[in-house]
């Protein structure tokens, strides 16, 4: 069976809505148990996570923990929660086989807190696995389309 871009977009919008609404544990449950969530270094988006210093290098355990942590008052950078919005565009299905859909897209994420709004310009690649009438994420690699993390200074939200 082959999937349409619209089906993929529906899924990406759903994922984005969970993040924007701070349903972080529901977000984490979109992932397969062998999943990874990665942000490679800005100077080399193709770097290897086992040798290079990434910005985020989460396996399933750590992305679950990331989601739980963000629900706590003691996750100070996100207490109270900032206001987050994902804008997703340029969605392309790169390849699809029975158990692996590769999807590319661009996103702009806004984070507002204490009267400052930071903008994260990104592209992303996801490897999706069909799951009933939806998908699970096996890999999400977000590439920051800026040459450094100045002036945002942190990625305390989920991109």
């Amino acid at each position: 069976m082959s999937y349409t871009r619209e089906q993929i977009e529906d899924f990406l919008y759903h994922e984005a809505a969970l993040i924007d609404e701070w349903k972080t544990e529901d977000w984490a449950n979109l992932f397969t148990e062998d999943a990874e969530y990665l942000i490679p270094p800005t100077e080399n988006p193709d770097a290897n996570k086992d040798t290079a210093l990434f910005i985020i290098n989460d396996d399933y355990h750590r992305l679950q923990q990331r989601a739980i942590r963000l629900g706590k008052r003691t996750a100070h950078a996100e207490f109270p929660h900032s206001i987050v919005r994902h804008m997703i565009s340029n969605v392309r299905i790169i390849s699809q086989s029975a158990n692996d859909l590769v999807v590319n897209y661009n996103q702009v994420v806004y984070r507002s807190k204490r009267q400052i709004t930071d903008t994260y310009i990104c592209s992303a690649t996801q490897h999706l696995v069909p799951d009933g009438d939806s998908f699970k994420i096996r890999s999400k690699r977000v590439i920051l389309a800026t040459d450094t993390l100045r002036p945002q200074g942190r990625v305390s939200i989920i991109l």
Binding site: I39, T51, I56
Partner: protein, 432 residues
């Protein structure tokens, strides 16, 4: 030192700009030191233009003609090796009319050619003759006056490259003094040399630079600021050493001369060199145990255990932090303005590191450190809350940094390391 500085707008008392009351064990720092552009201007002149500053690690320059370009103490530098492998640091500004001659962050260049009018410099900074150059008399470029300008002094200690803009500065080894021993404990983790790994963290904080210095070796804040990080460790099987007891962390702070300080304490978590935790599995245990054996062979049991099993947060005045904790980070930072700083951070590792251990190291680094870790963003939040809190001046005028002042030995959760920084800061800011 120049006498042209306009007066520094801080309340000045018997101890200078700080209140260092040893009789009553009270230590106060004026909040205005964090919010005043005039104080920052004076810091540029009296601190960043006078002290030795960390610039790069020799492993970032692996071959002849390798270079990096970056801001050091607020100034744009090219740090490179010439064709003979000798290390230099040049201002990244053309000797003609000042354009930056290097626009890449890293690479290998035999020549730096200014994009504006095409002046060319070799990797030793020498202005080289162009074909068909007209308008300059014979010999105009001889004698070096049109070469790239070098920083006043450069010195390397155990592959840590330092520079200073002060031609009267004493030697780097005098500057580091006994704090050099802390750099040894880092450099000695490898038999073949340490290297900066691929990928770095370039981020920022909307806070005064001194807030990050204070925070980088502040054991006192760990339990409050990083409660959610300790929750994460608790819910991660095997992330603590099995015999760990939180009351053991203890540790001590050492104040060195010239404003340097370090805390050393028990590591509750795994250390790539060289403390295994169950999370790393049997294969990891073999690799880490082997590392400890080679450390013992090289350094003897006692020093090997100190190198491999102790955490250390090292502050080298004014803006170098080396945190040797669940990973090893070199962190340096500089003010852009009084309320905004830039950070550069790298992961440092033994060149010969086993692939499994390197993987733990990079994974470990991010659980705590870095702009998307489980701790650093909360540090950023705290520093920004402080900076915003200082807007309430003038009524609450002073920060209190007295913790541990009455004790003979300060623990890792006392505040001697910050007092050490501030005493040096005060001495430089009030010197004639």
């Amino acid at each position: 030192m120049s006498q042209k500085t306009s007066p520094i707008p801080l309340p000045s008392g018997a101890d200078g700009f700080i209140r260092d009351d040893r009789a009553n064990n009270e230590f106060l720092v004026p909040r205005k030191a964090f919010t005043s552009p005039e104080v920052l201007a004076a810091e540029y002149e009296r601190i960043f233009s006078q002290c030795w500053l960390y610039a790069a690690h020799a492993s970032e320059l692996p071959e002849p003609n390798s270079f990096v370009s970056r801001r050091v103490g607020g100034r744009e530098l090219i740090i490179n090796r010439d064709s003979d492998g000798e290390i230099h640091a040049f201002f990244n500004a053309c000797s003609h009319r000042g354009a930056m001659v290097c626009r890449e962050k890293t690479g290998k260049n035999k020549w730096f050619v200014c994009p504006y009018h095409g002046w060319a410099f070799n990797s030793a900074g020498t202005r080289v003759a162009q074909d068909n150059e007209t308008g300059f008399p014979d010999g105009f470029f001889d004698g070096g006056s049109k070469d790239l300008t070098k920083v006043a002094k450069l010195a390397v200690y155990r592959d840590f490259i330092f520079i200073t803009y002060n031609s009267n500065a004493g030697s780097l080894s005098d500057y580091l003094g006994d704090a050099a021993e802390m750099l040894d404990l880092v450099a000695d983790q490898s038999e073949t040399g340490m290297e900066v790994t691929e990928g770095n963290h370039e981020y920022s904080m909307r806070a005064n630079w001194k807030l990050l210095l204070e925070n980088s070796a502040d054991g006192y804040h760990a339990m409050a600021t990083h409660a959610s990080y300790f929750d994460y460790l608790q819910s991660t099987n095997g992330s603590f050493r099995s015999d760990f007891n939180p009351s053991d962390i203890g540790g001590a702070c050492t104040a060195f001369g010239n404003g340097h300080a370090a805390i050393e304490y028990v590591a509750p978590w795994g250390r790539p060199v060289a403390q295994w935790v169950p999370q790393w599995g049997d294969q990891g245990r073999d690799a880490v145990n082997q590392l400890m054996e080679t450390l013992i062979k090289r350094h003897g049991e006692e020093r090997a255990r100190r190198i491999g099993e102790k955490n250390r947060n090292i502050l080298i005045f004014p803006n170098l932090v080396i945190n040797d904790i669940m990973a090893l980070t070199i962190r340096t930072f500089q003010p852009v303005n009084e309320g905004y700083l830039e950070v550069n951070a790298w992961s440092l590792a033994p060149k010969e590191e086993h692939a499994d251990v390197r993987k733990f190291r990079q994974y470990n680094f991010l659980e705590f450190l870095g702009p998307a870790g489980f701790a650093t963003p909360d540090d950023v939040e705290m520093l920004e809350l402080c900076q915003q809190g200082y807007k309430n001046m003038p009524e609450p005028m002073w920060n209190d940094i007295s913790k541990g002042m009455s004790k003979a030995i300060n623990g890792s959760d006392d505040e001697l390391q910050m007092r050490t920084f501030w005493r040096r800061w005060n001495a430089l800011m009030t010197a004639d």
